[in-house]
Amino acid sequence: SQQGEEDPQALSIQEGENATMNCSYKTSINNLQWYRQNSGRGLVHLILIRSNEREKHSGRLRVTLDTSKKSSSLLITASRAADTASYFCATALYTGGGNKLTFGTGTQLKVEL
């Protein structure tokens, strides 16, 4: 599998429900970030969790990171129709080079009224 694979690939829920997306990666990381992308639009940074952190909250978002399992999850609580978008995880490893992000395959979330 590739660095940064997410599951499910697609998720459809009702408004008010919680949405959980998972991300797995293969290499060491310095941090893991989650981005949102509305259809055909730009990437919006949601939340960043460092490798020495296990959980982080921001509003309705909760991110966990398990470096032993090389996995992360993004929980969106009390979802809204406006949360409909694609969600990507991206890992960062600072090697002294470009410190690039490696993106996952994404989860398409659809929140229905």
């Binding site: 940064g4 941090n31 730009g42 940074h45 990507f88 991206a90 080079g97 410190n99």
Partner: protein, 112 residues
């Protein structure tokens, strides 16, 4: 809130033509990046730029690609001879000393 600006938002070009995609990073940022996303696929790293030189590039970033910071504000990606498979959304990103990235809204390049 500071933002990364990309122009144009959409560019259509003939195969074989040269295109220049433009980005204005956040003014006090030091690290600059180009990523691309082919329709329906994951976002892929192209190149990173720091201190007026390329610090890392991917296998995608071959000789037909080049980047430049011609002045103190712009950061450009040039594709010398476009191919159909270059059609994608191209994202510019910048980063300061902190670890957070800011992405632009992208340029959709369509090669016909």
């Amino acid at each position: 809130e500071p933002e990364v600006t990309q122009t144009p938002s959409h560019q259509v070009t003939q195969m074989g033509q040269e295109v220049i995609l433009r980005c204005v990073p956040i003014s006090n940022h030091l690290y600059f990046y180009w990523y691309r996303q082919i329709l329906g696929q994951k976002v892929e790293f192209l190149v990173s730029f720091y201190n007026n030189e390329i610090s890392e590039k991917s296998e995608i970033f071959d000789d037909q690609f080049s980047v430049e910071r011609p002045d103190g504000s712009n950061f450009t990606l040039k594709i010398r001879s476009t191919k159909l498979e270059d059609s994608a959304m191209y994202f510019c990103a910048s980063r300061g000393d902190s670890i957070g990235y800011t992405f632009g809204s992208g340029t959709r390049l369509t090669v016909v």
